[in-house]
Symmetry: C2
Subunit: 400 residues, 2 copies
């Protein structure tokens, strides 16, 4: 029986970053940068004002000095007015500081204050003298031309995208996002809105998996529910054109486990137990079509746990991320609970700032889908622990 770590290692060994594509910034949120972004120019591009005020010769701008305002430099202006002795230019935040000036006096450091005027005044009187260089943002002080402003491997959030735009780029090179198909199997499955008869169960795994795939930043391109029928499953699988197929159900030793019957030993796909509870029956490998196939057990909690432990890390690795693990924290067990001997327990739990407890009073049953709704995290209890004692330290994977 493989350990959790062995199964993960096998999976991550196959999950190389997908090819690179060049896409516009407004589609790149959450993607992983594939090549360094270098600034096309110095940032800022030119010495500019950090305040609305007046560009001056600092030496002239003593308290009480009257300066003549000879120019007006709004934001966006390309003006570079000459400033003689005792002269100033009105200037707005972000506008280029005239070459002749060496300081900016904020509006409120003059006699005229911050009252808004359409036109620049003729004269101002300095009420607070500027320090040398005051309120001038120097060209290149944020980034030099050609310098790397966002490094390859970075996950592109709002701040990184903004930085890329400032560096002169409206596209970025990123790894392609995994295209994923979700396939639920089981002749017992019916639509949630239907009225079940004895033996039938509302289909919930595809809902869980599609939302989980999307939450991992991957693209759900197909969702299917298939009965336990080999021909029907083959037809569905043959119609897919994806990077990853996530199946649930039919992966165990049952006589009707069609996923195993159809996929075992195609490509590198292998089925076998993993020493985890829930989620022991697992199939994984690269199919004949080059896609990664995850064949998960059918119970909802097993699906939730298997996704977090095996599928999500692979989706992130395919997307080019180097850190594929969720953060883990340590909490004290608020109550004791039993764990399966020799298997890693992955238990839906409820957390507060200091403690952790099982999300259900019913224990770790893999069918407790209603209870899953109140869980916030997964406790990871090592295989060699047989019982978590009240007050024991427990490692918890946080699902933020």
């Amino acid at each position: 029986m493989r350990t959790v770590d062995e199964h993960r290692a096998r999976i991550l060994g196959t999950a190389a970053p997908l090819p690179v594509e060049t896409i516009p910034l407004d589609r790149a949120r959450g993607r992983v940068l594939a090549s360094d972004i270098r600034s096309r120019w110095p940032v800022p591009l030119f010495d500019n004002s950090g305040m609305d005020g007046y560009a001056v010769h600092g030496a002239d701008a003593t308290v009480g000095a009257e300066l003549r305002v000879v120019a007006d430099v709004p934001a966006g202006s390309s003006l570079d007015p000459a400033l003689g002795p005792g002269q100033a230019a009105r200037i707005m935040t972000g506008a280029p500081v005239p070459t002749d000036a060496d300081a900016v006096i904020p509006l409120e450091h003059t006699d005229l204050g911050t009252e808004v005027r359409a036109d620049a005044p003729d004269r101002i009187t300095v009420t607070t003298a500027p320090r040398p260089g005051a309120h001038i943002r120097r060209a290149g002080e944020d980034a030099e031309a050609g310098s790397v402003t966002v490094a390859a491997g970075t996950v592109l959030g709002p701040w990184q995208l903004s930085s890329a735009a400032s560096a002169g780029h409206d596209t970025v090179d990123v790894h392609r996002s995994p295209r994923v198909a979700v396939v639920s199997t089981g002749s017992e499955l019916i639509a949630p809105s239907a009225r079940p008869v004895r033996g039938q169960i509302p289909e919930s795994n595809s809902v869980l998996l599609a939302a989980a795939v999307a939450s991992a930043g991957a693209e759900v391109v197909a969702v299917h529910t298939v009965a336990d029928d080999k021909a029907a499953l083959v037809t569905v699988l043959d119609g897919l054109d994806v990077d990853v197929v996530v199946l649930s159900g039919g992966a165990s030793v049952g006589a009707f486990d069609v996923v195993k019957a159809v996929l075992d030993r195609t490509g590198s796909i292998e089925f076998g137990p993993v020493s985890m509870q829930p989620g022991k029956p697992q199939g994984f490998g690269v199919g004949d079509d080059g896609a990664l196939y995850f064949c998960l057990p059918g119970n909802p909690v097993s699906v939730a746990v298997s996704f977090e432990m095996f599928v999500r890390p692979a989706l992130l690795a395919l997307a080019g991320r180097s850190d594929v693990d969720r953060p883990r924290v340590t909490r004290r067990a608020a109550v004791g609970w039993r764990t399966p001997p020799g298997r890693t327990q992955v238990l839906p739990v409820v957390l507060d700032d200091t403690t952790v407890r099982p999300a259900t009073s019913g224990g770790s049953g893999s069918h407790l889908v209603s209870s899953l709704a109140v869980a916030q995290a997964l406790a990871i209890v090592p295989a060699d622990v047989e019982r978590v004692g009240e007050g024991a330290s427990v490692e918890v994977m946080v699902l933020t």
Copy 2:
């Protein structure tokens, strides 16, 4: 001058949850549930098997007993075969346990083991006796019919959606997601791919804001860049039909601050300083059209900070979330830095497990957009602190 808390309180006072809509589960990820989900039936629906194996009379199934297999109950079957003394039914995981049975023996606890057979065998010999009730999941043990399985106010993630499906629902009542317009203003702004001349700056704020709005789960329905021209801005604003407008630039005291000129005192919109650094000039209020207007300063770091402190909490509140704040942690300052007297400092920072440091060596300049790319979090330093000493304890807002 308003404090940060006063400005936030004014904003959150206007941000009531948006109306409720009913949408399919596969579109509901990240939405906030507006009414309790109650299970249409007991979960599980019927006593079912937790294993692939044989449903038996437990009293008959002593070690060495030979049982006659008189029926085969696959998943999805509605069969309820009668079982006489010494009789068993082959049963698959999830299939309904016959009324006459009171335990399930897993395949591997019989002489025939787990070899897959198309048809049920005629006879099995018990190798391990079941406990009473073994491997039977009782109807309703996860949730009773009519019980609340997901409570109003819950953010719907994969697990909650799966639970809703199991409870018999293919739609959910959720608060509408805020529809947001992003408007960058400034005559200095050009497309990032253009070649700037003196005075021009690549437009990056709309990229930042659009990605940040989407990251908050809201819907970006319009993105505009407008020069400092009142008529042009009015035309853009008149064309919007949204819940929230986020503008950047033109909110301060400059002569060309058109956002203030156009929006001040329309509806409840007010402009004025907030004691925060960066991000002091702020405008906010409900416009004549009923939308919330956020008028942020134009510097990129000010935009990033203002979004996190003011806009994001409002977007979450509109979406129906009660907890609108990001998690905060405490770290030790790895270096000392200065803070503005009398203003709350919100500083982009880099973290490790124990320490925090400014993301830039250049300090807290609101124009340092390149440096923003390496920041992972925002340090929040209270207004009454004038200097963060090396080793001091600092509160940090984590942007996960």
